[in-house]
């Protein structure tokens, strides 16, 4: 579980996060949504320790990040898996080497044990015939799967995903969403996803955090988001005609 208490982050004169507090539970897919410039990326990077908040605390199962020593922070980071927007796979390595990288760096497993674990997670993300290919030789959807495999190979307690569906076709995007949700539930991981994709919100948003102008505007589940009368949320989530109609149908069904 990750608990965020009143974090503030400034860049010069500009305050990007103005005191955000929330809690991300284990075994759930937690989504951060909001318009461009709402502070989502800064929030995610603060959770990851890439940005240091000016005030407030972030605790990982009781371990307050700002109070940890450098060694303890590095130790904590080995418990984190991250799927970057552009996958961030290492160009010079094959798929197999990319996935095995965290094991090679942070465990004392033998080459055989690493190979077994890598084969298992590659299989788990349904990648076939890609072991020896380089990232440039596989599709965007396959790259995302490799990134997920790399993120989970070392059994992380926390999984962060930055726009995991960007650049993917709708069908592949749903497959990736479902894969993340399955893995989250299967391994009881605390998963936090930064997304713009409303399909993801509807499909896997067990907890949704909506940011607006650096403040937490609303939080709830994908069921509750249909019923909310928060204007900022409805304006953002139901900005397309299709989603407006989906919401109307959902609410009509609910009344019946």
């Amino acid at each position: 579980m990750i608990e965020v208490k009143n974090i503030v982050k400034k860049f010069g004169e500009q305050t990007v996060l103005k005191g955000v507090s929330t809690r991300f539970e284990a075994g759930m897919t937690n989504l951060i949504i909001g318009q461009s410039g709402s502070g989502k990326t800064v929030f995610l990077k603060s959770l990851l320790g890439i940005h240091t908040p000016d005030s407030g605390t972030i605790s990982f199962d009781g371990r307050i990040y700002s109070e940890l020593s450098n060694d303890e922070r590095r130790e904590l980071r080995t418990e984190i898996g991250m799927v970057f927007q552009g996958s961030a796979l290492f160009d010079s390595m094959t798929v197999e080497e990319n996935v095995g990288f965290p094991l090679k760096m942070f465990t004392n497993k033998s080459a055989k044990e690493i190979k077994e674990r890598v084969d298992f997670v590659i299989d788990r993300v349904h990648l076939v015939n890609a072991h020896q290919k380089r990232p440039s030789e596989i599709s965007g959807g396959m790259q995302k799967r490799v990134a997920i495999a790399r993120a989970i190979v070392n059994n992380p307690k926390y999984l962060f995903c930055d726009e995991p569906n960007s650049g993917l076709d709708p069908k592949t995007a749903i497959v990736i969403d479902n894969l993340i949700q399955e893995i989250t539930q299967e391994y009881n991981i605390t998963t936090v996803i930064n997304t713009h994709d409303m399909n993801s919100v509807m499909e896997i948003g067990e907890k949704i955090v909506f940011l607006k102008n650096g403040l937490l505007e609303w939080e709830g589940s994908n069921k509750e988001i249909f019923k909310t009368d928060n204007e900022a949320v409805t304006d953002f989530v139901y900005s397309s005609e299709l989603f407006k109609r989906v919401r109307k149908m959902y609410l009509e069904d609910d009344v019946k």
Binding site: I80, G86, M105
Partner: protein, 233 residues
Amino acid sequence: MLKEIFNKPTKWSAMKQLIFKEIDDLIIDSLGIVSFISFFVGGVVAIQTALNLTNPLIPKYLIGFATRQSVVLEFAPTFISIIMAGKMGSFITSSIGTMRVTEQIDALEVMGVNSLNYLVFPKIIALLLYPFVIGLSMFLGVFGGWMAAVYGGFTTSFEFTTGLQAEFIPFHIAYAFIKTFVFAFILATIPSFHGYYMKGGALEVGKASTVSFVWTSVVIILVNFILTQLLLS
């Protein structure tokens, strides 16, 4: 940056592979171009010297002497290093810069890897072999001079090799290799700095490579001047 490079080292088993890869990319891949340039520039130095020795009282062995002095003292250590600032330096800046742009460095940091140590330390270690490149350049430069002088009909092999041995000061070799070690460190660190701390996209990677080449060359020239003053004056 320098402190962080040597801080929190990457696991040795992984680092060993990185070092071998850097030796391949930076040292082995440079041998062809260094050999080519050294051989022909050595030849040109010998021909230019021979063509300028018009006074019959000046002994022909000076062609070998001048070739040796030019190649060993300046051409091989300094000018090959400037050429390497273009070849190795832009390779280092663009490869690290691309990793920055594509979030690969962020990925390393998030995983808990000391990215500066992971990326820069193997380059510094690989470039400890740089003196071998310069040694090869010295040999081929002098050999190219001998070929051009002898087969161009400017002097005899005996006179050329007499010139090579004339007034030989062993410290000049030490001076050349001291410079080479310093230049190797500059070649590993300045381009890495420009790649690691770059901001922006693909266009900025190209700009960073150019800026890195300019700064690496400027620093090599200035350090060359200072070291020459300190060691030879």
